[in-house]
C-alpha cells in the first residue's frame, strides 16, 4: 500500500486546506501590493502549492525544511501561523525576528524551518549541513530542501548535492521546476532534458514527477524520507509545475509570457484537481467546501488585521541579536 493510500479523509481535507490557504495568502498579498501596508515585494507561488504541501505534510516537528522563494505552504504546514507570515510581509514587530527578517526568508527553530537565503540556491549547502548534523547525531530526522530550476543552475547545487551524496546524508532535494528563472524561461537557461537525471552523477536517485499532483509529491517525498531516515541517503525530486505570477509583482503576470501557456497550465491547476479527486471519492461535499473556503478567507482576514494592527519594531531592535550572548572569558569588546 502506498503512502498516499494510507492518508485518511481528515488528512486529505487538511492537505487541501493547506493548499487553499497558501493560494489565498498569495492572492491576498499580491492584491494588497502597492496599496500600502505590504512592504515585502510578493514573489507569488500560485500554481505551485501542491509541492510544498505534498512534501511537508506528514513530516515530523524536528525534521527541517529549507524553504525556497515559492514555498509559502512549507511555512504553513510546518506550523508557522499565517499571522506571523503576514506580519513578516508587513515588516512588523510581531513578524519573523521581530521585523529583522522577511516572511520568505525566515527561520523557526521550534517548528523545524531552516533560515533560507535571498541568494536563491545558496541555502542548499546549509540544508546539507543540517542533514550532516542529523547523521553525526545518529538522529533519524531528515531535511527537505526546496529550490527552483533557476537555483539549480548555481554552483551550490553541484557542491551541495555532491556533498550529500558522498556522505549519504538524510536529505530530500525538492526541485520546483516552475519553468522560469526569474523572468527567463527554462528553454533559455537550461540545455538539458531534465534535472532529475543529474542525481545519477551524485550517486543517488533522481525522479521527475508531476508537481501539480499533491499525491504524487507526497508519495515521492514520503518514500525518499523513509529511505533517508534509515541511512539510504539523498533523493532528488524534480517536481514539474508552473508559476502563474511573474517573478515578482513588479511585472504583471502576463508580461513576457504566452497567455495561452498560462491558460494551458490553469487546466492542470493543483487545487481544482485535488478538489475533484476528493469530491469524486466522496471525501468532501460542496457544503464542506464552502465552509472550508470561508474559514480560509477568514483566517487570511485575521492575519491581515493582525499585521495591520501590530506595532512596528522599535528602533533599538536594530542593534539586537548581532551576536549571541557570550561570557567575557570567551569574547570581550563587542560594540554596536
Amino acid at each position: 500500500m502506498s503512502h498516499a493510500d494510507q492518508l485518511t479523509a481528515r488528512d486529505l481535507i487538511q492537505m487541501y486546506r493547506w493548499m487553499v490557504l497558501t493560494r489565498a495568502f498569495e492572492d491576498r498579498i499580491c492584491g494588497l501590493w502597492g496599496k500600502g501596508g505590504v512592504v515585502e515585494l510578493p514573489h507569488g507561488c500560485q500554481g505551485q502549492e501542491a509541492i510544498a504541501v505534498g512534501a511537508c505534510y506528514g513530516l515530523r516537528q524536528h525534521d527541517q525544511v529549507m524553504p525556497s522563494l515559492r514555498t509559502r505552504g512549507a511555512f504553513l504546514v510546518k506550523g508557522v501561523s499565517p499571522r506571523v507570515q503576514m506580519a513578516g510581509v508587513y515588516g512588523k514587530a510581531t513578524g519573523p525576528a521581530r521585523g529583522k527578517a522577511t516572511a520568505h526568508h525566515m527561520g523557526d527553530a521550534e517548528r523545524g524551518v531552516l533560515l533560507g537565503s535571498g541568494v536563491v540556491g545558496a541555502s542548499i549547502t546549509v540544508a546539507v549541513g543540517a542533514a550532516l548534523a542529523f547523521k553525526l547525531q545518529r538522529k533519524d530526522n531528515i531535511v527537505v530542501d526546496f529550490f527552483g530550476d533557476g537555483a539549480a543552475q548555481r554552483g551550490d547545487f553541484h557542491e551541495g548535492l555532491n556533498f550529500a551524496g558522498v556522505f549519504r546524508l538524510p536529505i530530500v532535494f525538492v526541485l520546483e521546476n516552475n519553468g522560469f528563472s526569474e523572468y527567463t524561461p527554462l528553454s533559455k537557461h537550461f540545455a538539458g532534458s531534465d534535472f532529475a537525471c543529474r542525481a545519477q552523477g551524485y550517486g543517488f536517485p533522481g525522479i521527475r514527477l508531476d508537481g501539480n499532483d499533491v499525491f504524487a509529491v507526497y508519495e515521492a517525498v514520503q518514500a525518499a524520507a523513509a529511505r533517508a531516515r534509515t541511512g539510504g541517503g539523498p533523493t532528488l525530486l524534480e517536481c514539474v509545475t508552473y508559476r502563474y505570477r511573474n517573478h515578482c509583482e513588479v511585472l504583471p503576470p502576463e508580461a513576457l509570457r504566452d497567455t495561452a501557456e498560462i491558460e494551458q497550465w490553469r487546466a492542470k491547476d493543483p487545487i481544482p484537481r485535488m478538489r475533484a479527486q476528493l469530491t469524486q471519492r466522496g471525501v468532501i461535499t460542496d457544503a464542506l467546501l464552502r465552509k472550508l473556503h470561508a474559514e480560509v478567507e477568514a483566517e487570511i482576514d485575521d492575519a491581515v488585521k493582525f499585521a495591520e494592527e501590530s506595532p512596528s519594531p522599535a528602533p533599538e531592535e536594530l542593534y539586537k541579536d548581532v551576536y549571541a550572548p557570550e561570557p567575557p572569558e570567551l569574547v570581550v569588546g563587542r560594540r554596536a
Binding site: G107, A122, T125, V128, G129, G160, A324, V331
Partner: protein
C-alpha cells in the same frame, strides 16, 4: 613552561576541545587522512575516528555551508579551508549565512562554527595562495576575526573560538606554523577581543597583527638601539577590535604606526586610524603612518614577493617618520 610550535599549539587546542565536547568535529579538504595541508590536524583521525574528523570534496562553499547548517542543529564544526584566498568561494556561506543567522533567527539560533584558514605570503605560493584577507571580511557584522601571532595565543584563542556561540574566522599565518613558543601548562583560554601589549614602550605605538607582530617587535628592538621606545600592540583579533588598548597607548605615546600584511589601501589599518583620529585626536603629536603591502596582487618570483611584503625596515622607517615629525 612547555614549548610548542604554532602548528602544534593549534593541534593541541583542537584535540582538547574535541575531548571536552563531543559536538566538536572537523571537516575540510585533506584534514583527516593527510593531517591537513599544513599538518595541523595530524593525529586527530587516529584519536577521534572518522565521524569527528573527515575529508570533504573540493567544495569550499559546501564545506562552510555545511558547517553553518550543522552548527544550527547543535554541532560545533571546525571547518578548514586550506588557503584563505579561497574565502572568495566560501564567501556567501560566511557572509550571507553564518554572519546573519543569529540576527535573522531573532536570537533563536546562531552559527557557532570556526573557519580555520592559512593566510599570508612569504612561501612563494603566488597570487592565489598568499593573500591576507581580513579586511575582506571585516566589514561584515556578525563575524569575528582572529589573527594569532604566537603559539600560546593561537591555542588560547582557538579554544575561545570553538566555545563561543558565534562564527569565528581563525587566520593562521603559514610562516608562523614552525615558530616555537612557550605554552602555559594546563587548561587556559585567551579571550577574543583583547589586544596584547607584546612590548611596552612610550615613544611610539606600533599596532600589528599576525605575522607582522614579529616584524614590529624586530623593528622595536632596532629602534631601542637608537634610543627610541616603541610599544608593540598585538591586536590578536580585529573583530572585535580592542580600541581601549590602542587608545590608551596612543594617549601615552602620541604617535601611531599601523602595520598589516594586506595592501595599505582599503586595509583594516584605515579603520584603526579613523578610530584613533576620532577618539584620540588631541593626543596625536604626528600624523598616523600605515605600513602594508602595495596596491598589487601578491607576486610569485622571490625578489618580487620580498619587495611586496612589509618588512622591519618599513616599520622602522614609519616609526622614525612619526617620531621625527613629533620631535620639538
Amino acid at each position: 613552561m612547555r614549548e610548542l610550535t604554532y602548528r602544534e599549539a593549534i593541534g593541541e587546542a583542537l584535540r582538547e576541545e574535541m575531548r571536552r565536547d563531543a559536538r566538536v568535529f572537523i571537516l575540510g579538504e585533506d584534514v583527516a587522512e593527510a593531517g591537513g595541508s599544513f599538518k595541523v590536524t595530524e593525529g586527530l583521525l587516529a584519536e577521534f575516528g572518522p565521524e569527528r574528523i573527515f575529508d570533504t570534496p573540493l567544495s569550499e562553499s559546501a564545506i562552510v555551508g555545511a558547517a553553518v547548517g550543522a552548527s544550527l542543529m547543535g554541532m560545533r564544526p571546525v571547518a578548514e579551508v586550506m588557503f584563505a584566498d579561497f574565502t572568495t568561494i566560501a564567501m556567501d556561506a560566511l557572509v550571507n549565512h553564518a554572519a546573519k543567522m543569529h540576527y535573522m533567527y531573532g536570537g533563536e539560533l546562531s552559527a557557532p562554527l570556526v573557519l580555520r584558514m592559512a593566510y599570508g605570503g612569504g612561501m612563494r605560493f603566488a597570487a592565489h595562495h598568499s593573500q591576507t584577507v581580513e579586511s575582506w571580511l571585516a566589514n561584515v557584522p556578525g563575524l569575528t576575526i582572529v589573527m594569532p601571532s604566537t603559539p600560546s595565543d593561537a591555542k588560547g584563542l582557538l579554544k575561545a573560538a570553538v566555545r563561543t556561540p558565534n562564527p569565528v574566522i581563525f587566520l593562521e599565518h603559514k610562516l608562523l606554523y614552525n615558530q616555537k613558543g612557550e605554552i602555559p601548562e594546563g587548561e587556559y583560554i585567551v579571550p577574543i577581543g583583547k589586544a596584547d601589549i607584546k612590548r611596552p614602550g612610550d615613544g611610539v605605538t606600533i599596532v600589528a597583527s599576525g605575522l607582522m607582530v614579529g616584524r614590529a617587535l624586530g623593528a622595536a628592538r632596532t629602534l631601542a638601539g637608537e634610543g627610541l621606545s616603541a610599544e608593540v600592540i598585538d591586536l590578536r583579533s580585529i573583530q572585535p577590535l580592542d580600541e581601549e588598548t590602542i587608545l590608551d597607548s596612543v594617549e601615552k605615546t602620541g604617535r601611531l604606526v599601523i602595520v598589516h600584511e594586506a595592501p595599505v589601501r582599503g586595509g583594516f589599518g584605515g579603520e584603526i586610524a579613523a578610530v584613533v583620529a576620532n577618539k584620540a585626536f588631541g593626543f596625536l603629536d604626528a600624523s598616523i603612518q600605515r605600513v602594508g603591502a602595495p596596491w598589487t596582487p601578491v607576486p610569485f618570483s622571490p625578489p618580487l614577493e620580498d619587495v611586496y611584503l612589509p618588512k622591519e625596515e618599513d616599520i622602522i622607517k614609519a616609526a622614525q617618520t612619526v617620531l621625527g615629525a613629533g620631535v620639538t
